[in-house]
Amino acid sequence: MKNLIPKGFAVLTLLAASLLHGQRNDSGNTGNGKRLFVQNGCYECHGYVGQGGAAGARIAPSSMVAEGFIRYVRRPFGQMPPYTEKVMSDSELTDVWAYLNTLPAAKPAAEIPLLNDSHSK
């Protein structure tokens, strides 16, 4: 049956798939990364946009290179539970890393009025 599918059509299908499911570049598939970030529980400690909180550090945008990110997630030295190769591949972790790097840095707090008046009236 496979010989009935023209090669050109297969290439077009792959390209369409990549457009539908997120941008692919040398750094990873950000759309897939976003999906994995939620599905695999990363958001539970780090927040849905990697902003961090009491349970986990801010990780977006990432200050690490992809290899360093993967190395840390495999064997974290803090309280973070490990994500081994058995549960997430290097490619999947790269996608997550790429997704985190699409998240913008925060606006300076000085530009947010609600964050600039801590004192009681």
């Binding site: 400690c45 909180g53 009491a54 490990p82 997430m88 925060a106």
Partner: protein, 648 residues
């Protein structure tokens, strides 16, 4: 007051007895009539009543004292509660304390104390827990025998762990020959207090009203002596329902002024010497401040020494924006300290050691091996062995077994005596550096809060900032703890009055939050304050009926849901296990999520009579919603806003 009341009642009791004898004789005479005349219409009934027979004149009257009582023992119990200054009694109704309940609402006038209707005994006790943390004195709670105590047990444990006084009264009926068949047997016990004895400080089962009076006052005194904890008094049904002996009025003992234990003078002097000599002292407080005065004393000590303070927030120990509040820098401060003074720390060991929760659990010290460690705590003055709330044994150099707040005045005076001009100069330099660092810490917290600012679900920092915008001009009070909200209110708000923060939960039994907040709000009500409760969603689901209690009793409180649609702490635990076992890392939501369907907290609240709106998922909608809800709270009523939030 009690004795005079008894005398007056005795006289009227005799008069009433005479009246009832006459009335009873009339009834007996009526019973002897023929059926046809007994069913005659009312207008002709009087005309058809036969005259009293001769036999009725000499017949012994029925024992009316056996069916009424003008002075039940439960009236005396109310006298006791009034003498102790109890403001409220929280209760879900139960037959084992039916007489006391009736005495409260009728004899006592339902005022001082007022009966607060709760839908679960856990709510009754947790409300008392929250109230005591604001008002500094206990409420009473009534518990219905075996079933009531068991319902209440988790809340009792929370209060015990949190070292908060609660005055528990449970109904029981020891005399088996007096129990009604069936349910009354199921709701009584030979030793009712055994169910919770490990998590109360003291209990008693009085055998007489005089005994009850003494035990009630003794129990109150014990509860209010640091370390403070719940106490339990069993109010036997026979004591409640039998009449007070008119010839022997029970006495109401007086409550003494209670002086808490202070640190031994030599130990205090040595502590002062070490504090003044230290280069990098750190003051760490958990439940140090029992009152506003305690907070003021800690500020005085810290300012004398220009020493940084770490607040572990068991209570509000230190103003959040004070230049010496360095709570956010706890770990490096502990690591560099040459002297650490712990004031009523729940966990001194955990303060100076880190612990790693991986497959191989391990710990490592944070503090230097030669750092001097001093503890002032009343914890070991009353320690029990079953529950493990004492935490791991800390190896300190000096353990002062005393109440920290009561010990601070003498410590401050001892420090003052040792201050030289040279040390004061050194301290001033240290203080200037600490103030600079404090400013940087606030800037860093604000920068961190800016991340995820416009995200949906809404960031906990955003919720915090939106609330502050509308609270900062009010006399407000935060009646929930903040750990699950990444402590944003304590990192960003100017919290400088003791009553503005309720502190930690104690045993961290889920279900504490909503009722404790409403109990605290009840205490704030008479002061005209605006209580704000950041309410965890899973916690509310334990006993949401407490929202009805708030509506029914017109307790103003703003509830802001921290709706992350999960028992999120447990979800993270399951995630940890899945990762560790290298399987199913996408399945941690099974058994932990509160989704499908999503719970509509606004509908729940509205169904209980509470103004509510939500769910709100757009951060731009928060401010207006808070404004509307605060209008309701200012009118003296509870309100709830359901907010979809980030997990932490």
């Amino acid at each position: 007051m009690g004795a005079n009341t008894v005398k007056k009642t005795s006289k009227s009791q005799v008069d009433r007895r005479g009246f009832l004898k006459t009335a009873a004789a009339g009834v007996v005479a009526t019973i002897g009539t023929t059926p046809s005349s007994a069913q005659a219409p009312q207008s002709t009934a009087a005309a058809s009543l036969p005259p009293m027979s001769k036999a009725a004149e000499t017949q012994a009257p029925p024992p009316v004292d056996a069916i009424t009582s003008d002075r039940p023992g439960s009236d005396f119990m109310v006298d006791i509660l009034k003498s102790l200054g109890v403001d409220y009694v929280c209760a879900n109704p139960g037959s084992t304390f039916r007489a006391l309940h009736e005495s409260l609402i009728n004899y006592g006038g339902n005022k001082n104390p007022e009966l607060i209707t709760c839908c679960h005994e856990e709510s009754s006790v947790a409300m008392a827990h929250g109230y005591a943390k604001v008002e500094g004195k206990p409420l009473a709670t009534l518990l219905h025998g075996t079933v009531g105590i068991q319902h209440a047990s988790m809340a009792i444990y929370n209060a015990y762990c949190d070292r908060v006084p609660v005055f528990l009264i449970a109904g029981n009926l020891l005399d088996a020959t007096m129990r009604r068949p069936g349910v009354e047997w199921l709701h009584t016990a030979q030793d009712l207090a055994t169910i919770v004895r490990d998590s109360i400080k003291w209990d008693d089962t009085p055998a007489s009203l005089e005994h009850f009076g003494e035990s009630a006052v003794r129990g109150y005194k014990i509860a209010m002596t640091p370390p403070m904890m719940p106490v339990l008094l069993i109010a036997d049904g026979s004591l409640q329902e039998n009449s007070v002996d008119p010839n022997h009025a029970p006495h109401i003992p007086r409550l003494p002024v209670i002086a808490p234990p202070q640190g031994e003078s030599g130990a205090i002097t040595e502590t002062a010497r070490l504090l003044v000599a230290a280069q990098n002292p750190v003051l760490i407080a958990d439940r140090a401040a029992r009152t506003a005065h305690g907070m003021a004393l800690l500020v005085e000590l810290a300012e004398l020494l220009q020493a940084p303070v770490i607040d572990q927030w068991g209570r509000l120990n230190f103003p959040t924006l004070h230049p010496l509040n360095h709570t956010d820098r706890a770990m490096p401060l502990v690591a560099n300290a040459d002297l650490i003074l712990g004031l009523e720390l729940t966990d001194f060991w955990g303060t100076i050691n880190s612990f790693r929760d991986q497959l191989q659990r391990s710990s490592s010290p944070i503090a230097k091996s030669d750092a001097k460690l001093i503890s002032i705590s009343a914890g070991d003055l009353y320690a029990k062995g079953n529950f493990q709330d004492l935490q791991r044994f800390p190896e300190v150099d000096l353990a002062i077994e005393a109440d920290a707040e009561a010990s601070l005045p003498s410590l401050i005076e001892a420090v003052k005596l040792l201050l030289t001009a040279d040390r004061k100069r050194t301290f001033a330099d240290r203080g200037a550096k600490l103030a600079d660092t404090r400013r940087s810490m606030l800037d860093a917290a604000r920068a961190q809060a800016a991340y995820g600012w416009d995200a949906s679900p809404i960031s906990t920092a955003r919720v915090t900032a939106e609330l502050w915008e509308q609270l900062k001009g009010e006399d407000w009070a935060l009646v929930s703890e903040t750990a699950f909200f990444s402590n944003w209110p304590l990192r960003l708000w100017d919290v400088n009055k003791y009553y503005q923060y309720i502190g930690g939960q104690g045993g961290y039994g889920v279900g504490y939050g909503a009722p404790a907040a409403i109990g605290a709000a009840l205490a704030h009500r008479k002061h005209g304050r605006i209580p704000v409760n950041i309410q965890n969603d899973g916690d509310l689901m334990y006993a949401p009926g407490v929202l009805w209690t708030a509506a029914h009793h017109r307790i103003p409180i703003l509830n802001v849901m921290h709706n992350n649609r999960a028992y999120h702490q447990e979800k993270m635990h399951i995630q940890r296990m899945a990762n560790r076992h290298q399987r199913g890392i996408t399945r941690a939501s099974i058994g932990t999520s509160l989704e499908d369907p999503n719970i509509d907290y606004a509908k729940i609240a509205a169904g209980m009579g509470v103004y509510a709106e939500g769910p709100i998922s757009n951060p731009a909608d928060l401010g207006p919603a808070i404004r509307r809800a605060l209008d309701v709270v200012r009118r003296g009523e509870p309100a709830l806003i359901d907010v979809l939030t980030q997990p932490r």
